[in-house]
Amino acid sequence: MDFRPLTETERRQLHTALRGNAEQDRVILMDRRDTSFVGMTEEVTDEEVISAIKSVPCHY
């Protein structure tokens, strides 16, 4: 296990991922060998897209 401090870039990426997971249910990917953080998936859920489509406001 690598206990070194995160670099600034890694810290920002992890922070973004955690915020995305907490606020928008975005998936966080972890390394299956050691459960370390490896990134986020670019896939978007149907629910996210459909919710946005269903709430497009009236335009004038």
Binding site: T9, R12, Q13, T16, A17, G20, L29, D31, R32, R33, V38, G39, M40, T41, E42, E43, V44, D46, E48, V49, I50, S51, A52, I53, K54, S55, V56, P57, C58, H59, Y60
Partner: protein
């Protein structure tokens, strides 16, 4: 020497036992290729349209101008990939014939668009909502105050909390039938007397800002669906329900002499068996392929979800 012999014999015995038991020496797991790091969204610098998307928007706008409802506003939802500073538009979802529209407003038929998004996104799960286009009947190339009130609330749910918007206006034909688009300003595209002006709006922004637009080569992934849009709208909510209830449902579009049809395939057991539902403009056909035989079914209901479940119940009854 005896010690060396014993060690070798033990190793051979261990390997034989492992082979016999089917176990193998634990191998280190291959380290999967790391996915890209999470995107850190910044304010959009530009929007990129594929040439297919550009054609869909301008040709759809031109067709609308020729239609009986040309005095109404219309529009399209834009799906694509949101990058850190750029939005790539890959699909257009029309407002639909069942939109609520007049000379000064348009509310898209979101049921049809939602169902279409399910179909389109089966090919690429990265597609997300980027924004939308709507037309103005006059020459106002900028979103209205009413647009701002709705959009400024709505963009908070988008990736990067920012949306892409375009306003379509009729500018008058400078060159009748001109086949080549022009770009008089970085955020404007004109073609054959029609103009699209592009803007971005982020959560908390006080106003829209002009957004430079570029073209790249590529398709409109939703364009094939435009030919069956009325069918998608007609069955949208029932098809949407089926997509949520049935796994591995697939869609395709087939061209017939009577017009295009939307085909939905619902897999059955055993593998290779399926119910194929062909949705035409005015009728629906049900074909069942089971154990190498194919037959036509006529469920006694014209609602596609109920008809499918009646059919599945009948098939379950035949299996005892």
């Amino acid at each position: 020497m005896l010690s060396s012999f014993v060690t070798s014999a033990r190793r051979i015995t261990d390997e034989f036992n492992r082979w016999l038991s089917g176990s193998r020496r634990p191998q280190p797991l291959p380290r999967a290729e790391k996915p890209p790091p999470p995107k850190i969204y910044k304010p959009l610098c530009r929007v990129v349209l594929t040439d297919g998307v550009g054609r869909s928007l301008f040709e759809g706008f031109a067709a609308h101008q020729e239609s009986a409802r040309s005095d109404e506003e219309t529009g399209w939802v834009l799906l694509g990939v949101r990058d850190e500073e750029e939005a790539l538009v890959l699909a257009t979802l029309p407002a639909g014939a069942e939109r609520d529209a007049g000379a000064a407003h348009v509310l898209f038929n979101s049921s049809g668009q939602a169902m279409a998004s399910r179909i389109v996104r089966r090919a690429d799960r990265r597609l997300t909502m980027l924004g939308h286009v709507h037309t103005h009947p006059g020459s106002l190339r900028h979103p209205s105050d009413g647009d701002f009130r709705g959009d400024s609330q709505w963009v908070g749910q988008l990736r990067g909390k920012e949306g892409v918007f375009a306003i379509g206006t009729v500018e008058g034909k400078s060159e009748a039938g001109a086949p080549i688009a022009s770009q008089p300003k970085p955020h404007m595209q004109c073609w054959n007397g029609l103009c699209l002006s592009w803007y971005a709006l982020g959560q908390g922004d006080a106003r829209y800002r002009p957004l430079p637009v570029n073209f790249t080569l590529g398709p409109d992934l939703a364009r094939p669906l435009h030919s069956v849009w009325s069918i998608v709208e007609k069955h949208a909510e029932r098809l949407d329900r089926l997509c949520r209830q049935q796994a591995d449902v697939r869609f395709e579009i087939v061209a017939r002499q009577t017009g295009s049809a939307l085909v939905m395939r619902v897999p059955l057991c055993p593998p290779g068996s399926e119910v194929k539902i062909i949705l035409h403009e005015k009728e629906e056909q049900y074909h069942v392929s089971l154990n190498g035989r194919t037959f036509v079914a006529k469920p006694e209901d014209d609602r596609v979800d109920r008809a499918l479940y009646l059919l599945l119940a009948e098939l379950a009854g035949q299996n005892g």
